[in-house]
């Protein structure tokens, strides 16, 4: 579906993609996770043929990129990070005009529109102007627009950023439907719960490299201690000084919160019971823990 081999890209002296290998299999939902500036969007732009790699080979839907990007994009759908719907058009016109870019006939597009509107939960909105839509509706329309050509592969760049929980859940549900229909999906995100829910496989990307690749379960099993005790409050740093080294396989502190990673939380909990100046939470390790372990806790801007 999509393959990148040894792909590199620099801007001036700054290498933003430093040798990426990626193989997308038909019918899977593949996640590209990474902090801001990790190179996720650049990877998508390279795959789309919108920018040329300095080295490496890219194949998209059987076509060499960038040379035959136009042909490859005939069977591709893209949901961009920032909505770029046409503000001068209605919902219906947005879909119609976009379908024409694919060389589709008007009657073929019009035949698909009711189905697309239903899929996007925009029935009865065909004549609405874009300004009248909520953020969630615009996202869903962007998704519907990406499906106008019935693509085999869909790229989604941070599809749920800025959406409320209801809108996010609806998008997730629709993406699952698409995978169930046999579509292949490549999505970038920095929401770990999103990746854990949707992705069959994912890669964590940082500083232009794919650090690890696997199923969410594999990554959690192989890269992080299975249990986490989060300790909050004034007493947390003091508690960590006394018990951290002894009871945690690994611990981290940010401000007044201590994260204790361990194979067995029980001994940790016993030392916390009855302590007045701390609160705590015992939970299973998740993808976010893996992500933070691999990419660190420092802010990225």
């Amino acid at each position: 579906m999509l393959s990148l081999a040894g792909v590199r890209k620099s801007y001036g002296a700054h290498e933003v993609i430093c040798g990426v290998d990626l193989e997308l299999r038909a019918g899977e939902c593949y996640g590209l996770l990474g902090p801001n500036g990790a190179g996720k969007t650049t990877t998508l732009r390279l795959a789309l043929g919108l920018t040329d790699p300095d080295a490496g080979r890219i194949t998209l839907l059987g076509e060499p990129i960038p040379r035959r990007a136009r042909e490859a994009r005939l069977r591709l759908g893209v949901v961009p990070q920032l909505d770029n719907l046409d503000p001068d058009f209605t919902v219906l016109e947005n879909l119609l005009v976009y379908g024409r870019y694919f060389g589709m006939r008007d009657d073929a597009i019009e035949a698909r529109i009711p189905h697309l509107l239903e899929f996007a939960g925009l029935e009865g909105r065909a004549r609405s102007r874009i300004q009248a839509l909520s953020g969630g509706m615009k996202r869903r329309l962007s998704l519907a627009r990406a499906l106008v050509n019935d693509p085999d592969l869909i790229f989604l760049d941070e599809p749920t950023t800025g959406l409320d929980p209801q809108a996010r859940h609806l998008i997730w549900e629709r993406l699952k439907q698409l995978v169930a229909q046999g579509k292949t999906i490549l999505l970038t995100t920095h929401f770990m719960d999103e990746a854990e829910r949707l992705c069959d496989r994912l890669s964590v990307m940082d500083h232009g490299r794919l650090i690890i690749t696997g199923t969410p379960q594999e990554l959690i099993a192989n890269h992080i201690e299975p249990q986490v005790v989060e300790v909050y409050g004034e007493g947390a740093p003091g508690w960590a000084q006394v018990h951290g080294q002894r009871l945690c396989q690994r611990w981290e502190r940010t401000g007044e919160t201590v994260f204790c990673y361990t194979g067995d939380g029980e001994p940790v909990l016993r030392t916390l019971e009855g302590q007045r100046d701390v609160r705590y939470l015992h939970r299973r390790a998740n993808l976010e823990d893996v992500f933070l372990k691999l990419t660190g806790r420092d802010l990225r801007d």
Partner: protein, 261 residues
């Protein structure tokens, strides 16, 4: 700037759908858009033509308003193409990110740039033709040769659409376009023979004028309004085509540099 930015254009026939998209938007606002585009050149032409024309003897052997009308066809076309390529083009390229959306479909930037130039020419074509219709309606010219102005208007629109788009490719914001208008468009209006014959200018400015595209447009249109075949028509057409081609290629290189990093 990379070597690839200088590659020859690769156009697909789907560029027509981008033109059609702009046409659809325009159709929704056609009447206010036409009025806005026409009011300015029409008022200049009628106000100065009758007001100033009444004080003047004939200019170059014709009534001043007829002289001015020929210049106004070109000026109106130039203005309309420039505004479309600059302000509206910038909205689509940068503000609304319409181009980004199109480049995710099976079209490339070359298709879009060509469509934008063609669209700017189409829109300015109407502005030029509207002035021509007024020329006919007021009886300022009865020559069938004025029909040649119809295709010429399209050529003039292509030229200034392409030149305008190079500015759009360089613009950080709308404010930037003021420079183009004050440093390129306004000087052309004053130096290229819209309001008075270029021969009135000092020799140095006449030489500058001879290099500017609007001069060549007017050298073609004015004789036609007067019922004469333009002299050195091939040269003037070649200069306009040259500016159009150079502008298109420059716009292509600059937008590639801007958007395909």
């Amino acid at each position: 700037m990379r070597a690839k930015h200088f590659a020859a254009p690769r156009i697909s026939t789907r560029f027509g759908q981008v033109w059609r998209r702009n046409f659809l938007v325009w159709r929704k606002l056609a009447i206010p858009s036409m009025l806005g585009n026409l009011a300015d050149p029409m008022l200049y032409m009628l106000g100065l033509g009758y007001g100033l024309g009444g004080l003047l003897p004939q200019v170059d052997g014709i009534p001043y308003i007829t002289f001015l009308a020929a210049g106004t066809v070109c000026y109106s076309t130039m203005n309309s193409a420039s505004f479309e390529a600059l302000y509206s083009g910038f909205s689509r390229m940068h503000v609304q990110r319409t181009w980004d959306a199109i480049m995710n479909a099976p079209l490339n930037l070359d298709d879009i740039v060509l469509a934008e130039v063609a669209w700017a020419a189409s829109k300015s074509f109407l502005s030029g033709i509207a002035i021509l219709v007024i020329i006919w309606a007021l009886g300022l010219s009865h020559s069938p040769l004025t029909l040649w102005i119809v295709p010429l208007t399209l050529l003039i629109g292509l030229t200034f659409g392409a030149l305008g788009l190079t500015m759009t490719a360089l613009a950080p914001s709308y404010d930037f376009f003021l420079y183009y208008f004050t440093l390129a468009i306004t000087p052309m209006v004053l130096l290229c023979g819209v309001f008075f014959p270029v021969t009135q200018l000092p020799p140095l400015l006449q030489q500058v004028s001879a290099a500017l595209p609007l001069t060549h447009a007017i050298d073609l249109v004015r004789p036609l309004v007067n019922g004469a075949v333009p002299q050195k028509a091939a040269l003037h057409i070649a200069v306009l085509l040259g500016y159009a081609a150079a502008g298109f290629y420059a716009a292509l290189v600059l937008t590639r540099r801007r958007l395909l990093q």
